[in-house]
Symmetry: C2
Subunit: 206 residues, 2 copies
DNA sequence: ACAGCTAATGCCACTGAGTGGCATTGTCGC
DNA sequence: GCGACAATGCCACTCAGTGGCATTAGCTGT
């Protein structure tokens, strides 16, 4: 039994197991059979829960497919909220991303890679993933602009955060494009390289 | 009769009218009643076509809602393909965007503003709109990297295009946030200002 | 160990987006 | 006017998503 569940009451443990089983089985079936070729009934049958229970755990079919994306952004926003950001904003956001990536559970990058590969193949999942980034962008702007001493132009702040997401998307695409080899260490290295390339990308000739 | 349709055969004219009527009525009903509160049956009844015909014209309910987004990106990609890009890539892409925005039909920004406002209220539409940007990003990368003499690092190219989209999204959000006042002239001015702010956004403190 | 309370589950019937086959209708070219 | 072709609409369907409520399971107090 994983550490997070050990001290929970049985009911909570059972709920958490159901939630994980849905996410794990969903990823497996979506990868093996294809996202569109797998119905929610297929998934629920495989996990032996009802569709009603599925929708108690996930808001949509896309949500269960992209649980790894959601886990990342959730944890990231918690980490940003818990830390003071210093120096250039984009650099500070990237530093916290490093922390969050490092702290994701040991199995996270396998699930994330699978989710990314599904997204590359299914437009609805790609759009949903972008929706998570959009929600994260809005939340980041809220967190940063709500801080004492925050005096930056709100639209410059928004632009900075959008650039942060642009760099992250590019880095994760690089990582996926080479098959996720090297796991999260390589992902983190590519994130670093991509962010370091921002100034050059701004002035790069056509 | 608008200029584009005058010289077309009757069948083509009728198809184009149906397509426009669907988009126009969709925008009106989605704005008046709410996106989720309006069914495809409601829309088809109002335009007096079948759902089958709806799906001959649009791929999804989201597609008809965001027809103005789609129109923009379609025209933009055509304009990029038709022109030589010189100078820094982001600046060249922005210059073509200026051209495309200027050339959109007179009614475009009204439809675009309505689409943006719906997107801000409906997550599925926001995600769909982001999906269009993603598709445009991929297409731009194809166009630019496929050119003779194109020698830039493909990931730097990708990053540049993602930054371009980030700036556009920020500029259009600025425009929407002030209610679209000043029409496309203001939108274009905000695009210019936002792109000019990129270097500062890169180094802006937290 | 049991009873009462609360929360979760699953059944069921439903809505609405999306789909495809095919008969009917309308347009086009001669 | 006619034949060919394209578009339309009907119809029956699938599947994602939803909500009410009876049943089941877990928790707590005695």
């Amino acid at each position: 039994m994983s550490d997070e569940l050990r001290d929970l009451p049985l009911r909570e443990r059972k709920k958490a197991r159901t939630r994980r089983a849905l996410a794990e089985t969903a990823l497996r079936l979506f990868t093996e059979r294809g996202y569109d070729a797998t119905t929610l009934d297929d998934l629920c049958d495989a996990v032996e829960v009802s569709r009603r229970t599925f929708f108690r755990n996930y808001r949509s079919k896309e949500d269960v497919a992209l649980a790894a994306d959601s886990d990342l952004w959730s944890a990231y926003l918690d980490d940003v909220a818990a830390r003071e950001l210093t120096g250039p904003l984009i650099e500070a956001l990237r530093a916290v991303l490093d922390i969050t990536l490092g702290a994701m559970d040991p199995d996270w990058e396998r699930r994330f890679l699978a989710a990314r590969e599904l997204s590359d193949a299914v437009p609805a999942l790609q759009a949903h993933s972008l929706g998570y980034c959009h929600d994260t962008t809005r939340a980041l702007v809220e967190v940063v602009s709500g801080r004492p001493g925050a005096d930056v132009d709100p639209w410059r702040l928004r632009l900075s955060v959008e650039i942060f997401v642009a760099a992250w998307r590019t880095a994760s695409l690089r990582w996926t494009a080479q098959g996720g080899h090297g796991g999260r260490d390589t992902l983190m290295k590519l994130v670093e390289e991509t962010f370091a390339d921002l100034p050059a990308a701004l002035t790069s000739p056509a």
